[in-house]
Amino acid sequence: MARMNMVQALNSAMDVMLARRPEVVVFGEDVGYFGGVFRCTANLQKRYGRTRVFDAPIAEGGILGTALGMGVYGLRPVVEIQFADYIYPAYDQLVSEAARLRHRSAGGFTAPITVRTPCGGGIFGGQTHSQSPEAVFTHVCGLKTVIPSNPYDAKGLLISAIEDDDPVIFFEPKRIYNGPFDGHHDRPLTPWAKHELSEVPEDYYTVPLGKAKVVRPGRDATVLAYGTMVHVSLAAVAESGVDAEVIDLRSLVPLDEETIAESVNRTGRCVIVHEATRTSGFGAELSAVVQENCFWRLEAPVERVTGWDTPYPHAFEWDYFPGPARVARALKKVMEA
């Protein structure tokens, strides 16, 4: 065991997989010699050589297109899109190609690609370094979508993603790379070292895709969250005094509907939290899942706490970011209904 922050845990996952499987290659913009703008691939090129960890031209569509071809010839590419905001040029290769290749070729050709990309705001990134486009991918059949909330899960889930034989989009909430940010931007950030989930085995282990985790058991309401919002929700629960259960979804596709349904059917109240914009956000899907599975047990309308349907404004990040106060208000609202 070692103490790791998210960046170190992700680095360790790639390190482990590069060592275990010669077909794993890692590439992306600034990923090779320099080790990535967030340092997630630091030292990997030095350790594994230039043909296994390398820099790519600034062409996200080209990165995904070539990754697919490599996957077809038996490699297992792990590519980094420097910011999720820049994934759109690769959208066609992901949606029309990677996601559908197995199906359209009736299993004749497949490409096990993992796409890592930092998402989310709260870092003064403005509208082009802050987006959370996960719903744009959960809507695509054939892609798996994963978002970890802590170093232990980050490493275990990334290893699972790399080993998975289908394409996986792996979102990394960059605001929690260095510590479990709970939305209190005016307080100093607690580093991961103080958090139990920064205890990370140095060797190989996996956290399965498609399994949510109850991070705080509770009786009176259920909060569904992922990524940074897990920590924001925990803070909100503590501050509101509501005995709410907090579920970290970890993987959006496949989604652990069982864990969600079991919890909401028990508590009868549900708050859904995400940082992404509201309309057609993943919260809409979650809300539908809750309605379909828990309608007769619901004591209150499902509440959504989300980013607004606006670009992420540089000067008003904290008015945009769905912080603990907003989550706490939603909890009160479902309790009072």
């Binding site: 080209g62 190609e97 496949p254």
Partner: protein, 410 residues
């Protein structure tokens, strides 16, 4: 300072329906005129090549110049056979579409030399990333026409289980990558495949095809950038058949330069080839394959040809081009030209040609009979719930639930 009004330029082809076909502006070098650099020449010494036109067969059907690949007559007769088969296959399948046995078909009439000669110039183990107009690759690699027809018919033996539009073949057995409906996507994929081959220290190379219109896509640029950066062992082919549905190649940026010349900006060799000249297509592809195999990287090849038929069965070209334009194409027909050459060297005759064409017809007819016995459009290729298979390797819970609902009818 000049402040006269600016004018927006919209390229327009020389001829439209009702006006005579006009190819007067084409500069077509004589056969043998375009030089053949050594296959290991430095790219910087070959920047004239994209503006030439590699041609071996002259007007009399003689093979001339340094690019003559000196193929044995048996190989050329085999080439004729595969081109005739491809043409006969296309004719038959269009008829099947007309009578409603398939929803859709795409012919490659007039472009048969591209796929057949290029397939010959590659090793059978090399990987192909085709567009939808290279069915000749499958025929030249000896793949079953029955199997191809079953995909077109979406019948009980459709290997793609009714999931794909007709002609979007996928045949891993002969290294023929799954055709995508999204143009150009296969170009960077082929580069990635080739990079993987180099990564593995393998000896296989890749080849990919796009049309003239498709070169405008970003993926075309991605392919060339990645190919040059990583020196990928790949042959990138542009089949310039002059048309992209109804738009002429000027709309893709072909008015002032050649598509082969795109290579120059990337530091890649670019060859421009008479696409209706079987020998030239073979020789140029062979040259590029040799470079790739010697770890000298990628080549861009423009195959200069003409789309003699409609874009697809959904298209009527008389609405946008003179209806006899294809007959006026100055580079002729690839089958006729190879035939003339073989007759000229005393290795072929009109009666033998007629017999071979007849044989091709019969072969296609027999294949059709068998394919039809497995059903045509409307015959369910599988149970509908098979659509849930292969979305993922393993069926996740939400798809299990949806499949159950489909079975229950809600």
């Amino acid at each position: 300072m000049n402040k006269s009004p600016l004018q927006l330029h919209i390229p327009e082809p020389k001829a439209r329906p009702g006006t005579p076909a006009d190819f007067s502006g084409l500069r077509i070098p004589a056969a043998g005129a375009t030089r053949r650099p050594p296959a290991d020449a430095n790219e910087s010494e070959m920047r004239d090549m994209p503006y030439g036109l590699i041609r071996v067969l002259d007007e009399q059907g003689r093979a001339v110049g340094d690019w003559n690949p000196q193929l044995p007559p048996e190989r050329l007769r085999e080439g004729l056979r595969h081109m005739l088969l491809t043409r006969a296959f296309d004719e038959r399948m269009v008829k099947q579409q007309r009578v409603g046995k398939t929803s859709f078909y795409i012919k490659c009439t007039g472009e048969e030399a591209v796929a057949v000669a290029q397939a010959y110039a590659l090793e059978p183990s090399d990987m192909l990333f085709p567009a939808y107009r290279q069915q000749g690759l499958l025929i030249a690699r000896g793949w079953s026409m029955v199997d191809m027809m079953c995909q077109v018919f979406n019948n009980t033996k459709d290997r793609l289980k009714g999931r794909q539009l007709p002609i979007m073949y996928s045949v891993p057995e002969v290294g023929f990558f799954s055709i995508s409906g999204n143009l150009a996507t296969q170009f960077p994929q082929a580069v990635g495949w080739a990079m993987a081959s180099a990564y593995k220290n393998d000896t296989r190379i890749a080849a990919a095809w796009v049309g003239d219109g498709t070169t405008a896509e970003a993926d075309f640029h991605h392919a060339l950038v990645f190919a040059t950066v990583y020196c990928a062992p790949v042959i990138l082919n542009v089949v310039n058949n002059q048309w992209a549905i109804s738009t002429f190649q000027g709309i893709a940026g072909g008015e002032h330069t050649t598509f082969a010349a795109r290579a120059i900006g990337y530091g890649l060799p670019g060859l421009r080839v008479d696409g209706n000249d079987f020998l030239a297509v073979y020789a140029a592809t062979r040259w590029a394959a040799e470079r790739a195999r010697r770890n000298l990287g990628a080549t861009l090849i423009e195959l200069y040809t003409y789309r003699a038929a409609a874009h697809s069965t959904s298209d009527d070209p008389t609405a946008y081009r003179p209806d006899d334009e294809w007959k006026k194409w100055p580079l002729g027909d690839p089958i006729e030209r190879l035939k003339k050459h073989l007759i000229g060297i005393g290795e072929w005759s009109e009666p033998r040609h007629a017999a071979l064409a007849q044989e091709a017809e019969e072969q296609v007819k027999a294949a059709l009979k068998e394919a039809e016995s497995y059903g045509t459009l409307g015959t369910p290729p599988d149970r509908p719930e098979s659509m849930f298979d292969d979305v993922f390797k393993e069926l996740p819970p939400h798809l299990q639930r949806q499949r159950a609902r489909m079975r229950e009818g809600n």
